[in-house]
Amino acid sequence: MSINVEAELPDTAAAPGPAAAPDTRTGLLIVGASQSGVQLAVSLRALGFDEHITLLGDEDHRPYQRPALSKEFLQGTVESESLIFRTNEYWAEHNVELVKGECIVRIEKEADGSGVAHASSGAQFPFQRLALTVGARARKLDVEGADLDGVLYLRNADDALALKARVGDARDVVVIGGGFIGLEAASSLQKMGKNVTVLEFGARLVGRAVGEETADYFLQAHRTRGLDVRLGTSARRFTADDGGQSVAGVELQDGTVLPAQIVLVGIGVIPNTELAEQLGLAVDNGIVVDRFALASDGTTVAIGDCANMPNPVPGSAPGERVRLESVNNAIEHAKVAAYSLTGRREEYAGIPWFWSNQADLRLQIAGLCNGYDQTVIRRDEERGKFSVLYYRQGQIIAADCVNAPLDFMAVKNALAKGQNIPGDAAADAATLLKTITTDS
């Protein structure tokens, strides 16, 4: 059981009674019922951690998987029940207490790592150790009309439900932001019969997450599939309908107005660092953690989208740091934290990987392409396969693979084993990459 103390009782300290539960400060409090929060609880139990675990989230849903929100869930091909991570029975059997709908606004912490977290409801959650799995939130667009009904974001289940509720009546949708979330949602909405326009402020799609060749491939592929993608274009303001409440259009910088009954904004996320800042933890584009997922106080762990960590890829530059937003990172980082919390020091395992499904384009990314100095393209037009291999000083460091799982798997495996795939041989798209993999 968690201990819920009403904060409005100012005299409980002076007159302790049955209403004032003891501040036992036992167990682990995981703030954020996210992919990383769930994995941390699961991994800890697998490692034999037997203290109480509270997995606390600010949403009213049981912990769920986010990736499908912009794809299968939006399109209605999977039900909400399918997104639930674990059954209630699983959590009960593993002595993990789920707390829903509590937003932690302040945390007091002692030097030994124990403390009390205070929720906006007044509830208090004492802990012996603290884990921050607080994720990131959608960056808001600040233009005139941004608060009109129908201007939506897509980060959590309620966002997806709001979008689904509105989508039936909508004919025209403008998606602002040509990143993964925008393109995934745009593809889903197009498939659902909507007239979709994507506005990307930058000169290419998907920002820095992929190289130029991959961005160009996606631009052409989406345009070929009938999606109206406009680069170097931004909204000047959103116009309202006759009632003045709901969005009706998007006015571009050149004065053009695109009709839109839904505007979906996907312009990136901001890591949720407020609690860490309030705790005095080092923060720099996320909560700064060491190789063992420990924050600057040496006791709190911070993992997943909210954490800025040393680049875990073998061979990366010393001192280089990354903040990764992915399911794979949430899982692997949670495992590192679970070891830390059980007194072991284990470094991040595996190669970061990412995926994004947009219409029939299935992108898989292995590794991080930062700092590449050469690319090799593999293109099989007939079978709709396309891969970009990234090299730094002749060593493969990453690959973007579209509908090419064999390439993806070969690169991921080579990176994990510290092997190389020579670029000149890889340029022949008919060659299976795993047959030319060499020990570096």
Binding site: V42, S82, T87, Y90, E93, W355, N357, P405, M409
Partner: protein, 106 residues
């Protein structure tokens, strides 16, 4: 009810009741069957829900599509003739499936 019998690499058996329409992967993950990782949640992107299906159960399975076939070449433990990705196997009311999970998925 549909039932899946999961045998791990050490031979321990876990029997899990599922719901018709769910995948074998979902059934395993939601109930915490340790041998299934399923990072991508069933979107055929990760090949970490690999199972070996007992031969006499093969008739209960849907045919394999190309994407699954290619992904199976990248599993952590090498594929065999009876390998499938369990996210692609849907339960029906009649399902009584026996699968073995590999030693590792990642």
């Amino acid at each position: 009810m549909p039932t899946v019998h999961f045998t791990d690499a050490e031979g321990a058996v876990r029997e899990v009741q599922g719901n018709a329409g769910d995948s074998v992967m979902e059934t395993a993950v939601r109930n915490g069957v340790p041998g299934i990782v399923a990072e991508c949640g069933g979107s055929l992107s990760c090949a970490t829900c690999h199972v070996f299906v007992r031969d006499d159960c093969a008739s209960q399975l849907p045919p394999m599509e190309d994407m699954e076939d290619e992904m199976l070449y990248g599993t952590a433990v090498d594929r065999e003739d009876n390998s499938r990705l369990s996210c692609q196997l849907r339960l029906t009311d009649e399902t009584e499936l026996f699968v073995t999970t590999p030693e590792t998925q990642v």
